[in-house]
């Protein structure tokens, strides 16, 4: 089974978010980058499936050279090889076109990724790729197993419940917890990752359909109003009469 796992390179979850150039650009200064946490579920599950059924796991990143440390990390966790499409990921549509081009060329059985990236929170790419390739996309899935060599069984979340879906290969799925316990690299993985192939390819043209023009931050809270624990009931009155939310 050939599995393609798409990863994005995102600011660590503890990052302070700032903008530069008149709020037109994200300020990368002092920001640590990690593999998007949702993508870690996709990556680990792909490696588990490979271990159980044989095959290979290729990681794909659409991004610039500064993503390479995290691509190596994915190789250290257990992917076999990697492809980086050398481009600034302009928007979801652009990224989906790049993934589709790589996926069509590689003939993968499964294309996995996280349900969204924690920076642009799009929740779009997986469904766009499915649509561009004309294959099913099952998102967001929290369970993924093979029924037989050509069929997978997934459970996906819908508001207020879940759906159980069986699809034939090939398909696209996005992952979320509790699909698996994301793995971290071990020493041996880190050593072998250095020599695993990482191919850099140029983007296949492709257009963006949206344009980020400006950023802003939420207004700061004016400060907390404390209520004594003995008078806790007072809080309920404030919520009704002052905050007007009850």
């Amino acid at each position: 089974m050939k599995i393609l796992v798409c990863i994005s390179n995102v600011p660590d979850t503890t990052s302070k978010i700032n903008f530069t150039g008149d709020n037109k650009e994200f300020d990368k200064n002092g920001v640590q980058y990690v593999i998007n946490p949702w993508d870690e579920y996709a990556l680990t599950r792909a490696i588990e499936l490979k271990e159980a059924k044989g095959g290979s796991v290729t990681v794909l990143n659409v991004g610039e050279a500064d993503a390479e440390p995290n691509i190596r990390k994915a190789l250290a966790i257990g992917a076999d090889d990697a492809i980086r499409v050398n481009a600034h990921p302009k928007d979801a549509y652009f990224v989906a076109q790049q993934i589709t081009a790589v996926a069509n060329e590689g003939g993968y059985d499964m294309i996995l990724m996280g349900k969204e990236s924690i920076d642009y929170n799009g929740f779009q790419v997986h469904n766009m790729v499915g649509e561009m390739m004309g294959i099913p996309s099952v998102t967001p899935a929290f369970k993924l197993d093979m029924v037989d060599d050509s069929t997978a069984r997934l459970e996906r979340e819908i508001e207020g419940g879940k759906e159980v879906v069986e699809v034939k290969l090939p398909f696209v799925a996005s992952a979320q917890q509790p699909m698996c316990e994301p793995r971290i690299p071990n020493m041996r993985g880190i050593m072998t990752a250095r020599t695993k192939p990482l191919k850099v390819v140029e983007p296949t043209g492709g257009e963006a359909k949206s344009e980020y023009v400006n950023y802003s931050k939420p207004e700061k809270k004016s400060g907390v109003k404390l209520i004594e624990p003995e008078n806790a009931g007072e809080l309920i009155k404030l919520l009704r009469n002052e905050a007007k939310v009850l």
């Binding site: 503890t14 979801a92 819908i158 207020g160 359909k209």
Partner: protein, 326 residues
């Protein structure tokens, strides 16, 4: 040219998040000098559809095909694409739900449109520019985005738009049929299982959320969270470690790696307020924090706070909530 809104049903009624999408869509239509049509599929009563007039919808296209009672992405896309074509829709509005965003993404490809999900405000339409504001960096920022294609697709973040209720007279309901093929059902669910909320409120749709963290000490104390939630008509939620240990189910876990909520009121009991937890709740309108540690980071993000033992404070809140006239 018109605005098309996709509305989702649940047990015959229209979901609250879809009433928000309808209100959003009709305001966009008004700004563009056109009308708003809704498209509905599957599990909704026709009376509920006609009432969308209150949200400013003039016409509803309804595909009552029984096979569409459950969500089948490819079939839904076909139905909505047909409605969009029939109405020459230039703007399509969805709720930013798992269903809405999925269908919106596929339609962006099929209709060659620009898509923005997680949208928090009405668009600015200025000459040739159509600019929306969307939440980015997991609630830590907003981005203004120009949608540059002719067709614009917007998925509206839940609880970020007020529901209009004086939009106008009843909407007319027309049947729509999209000539669905067997192949459109290739990835249809085998089974759909809805959670038992015990008659309570679903977390993603809730206006009030009562949430517990590790400071609640154990699942045996969760009756306090549940009781307060019941009194306030709220949904229950929890922090990540609480669902990881198995005190609560995973679908209650909010935060960076769980679900994002933006209720009017979020009450957090025994949650420290780690940055990853805040990412899922910081767009809540009012935040109440109950924590015995005055240095807990959550107090910095809170509007109201009680420094105290949650197991002692919650019973007092329940008592006070019971005394409210509802």
């Amino acid at each position: 040219m018109s605005v098309l809104v996709f509305v989702e049903g649940l047990n015959g009624e229209i979901k609250k998040s879809s009433l928000e999408a309808a209100s959003y869509g009709s305001q966009v239509a008004q700004a563009m000098g056109t009308t708003a049509t809704a498209v509905a599929i599957g599990d909704v009563h026709e009376e509920a559809l006609a009432k969308l007039g209150e949200q400013g919808i003039s016409k509803v296209l309804y595909d009552a095909d029984d096979r569409l009672k459950q969500f089948v992405a490819d079939a839904y896309v076909k139905v909505i694409a047909k409605a969009a074509q029939q109405e020459s829709a230039k703007v399509l509005v969805f709720s930013n739900s798992n269903i809405g965003a999925a269908v919106g993404s596929k339609l962006a490809v099929r209709l060659n449109g620009s898509l923005a999900t997680n949208v928090t405000e009405l668009p600015k339409i200025d000459g040739g520019n159509f600019t929306v504001t969307r939440g980015v960096f997991s609630g830590k920022a907003f981005a203004q985005v120009n949608l540059t294609s002719d067709v614009k697709i917007i998925a509206v973040k839940k609880n970020s738009t007020d529901i209009i209720s004086n939009g106008g007279s009843a909407a007319t309901v027309e049947k729509l049929s999209a000539d669905l093929a067997e192949s459109d059902f290739a990835a249809a669910p085998k089974e759909t299982v809805m959670q038992d909320t015990g008659g309570g409120v679903l977390l993603p749709e809730a206006e009030i959320v009562v949430s517990g963290g590790r400071g609640m000490k154990g699942p045996e104390n969760w009756h306090l969270i549940e009781e307060l939630a019941k009194e306030l008509g709220a949904a229950t939620a929890c922090s990540k470690p609480v669902s990881d240990i198995g005190w609560r189910p995973h679908h209650e876990h909010v935060g960076q790696t769980g679900i994002t909520v933006s209720p009017n009121l979020y009450i957090a009991a025994g949650i420290s307020g780690a940055i990853q937890h805040l990412a899922g709740v910081n767009s809540s309108k009012v935040i109440v924090v109950i924590n015995k540690d005055p240095e807990a980071p959550f107090f910095k993000a809170a509007d109201y706070g009680i420094v105290g033992d949650a197991l002692e404070v919650l019973p007092k809140l329940i008592e006070a909530a019971k005394a409210l006239d509802k």
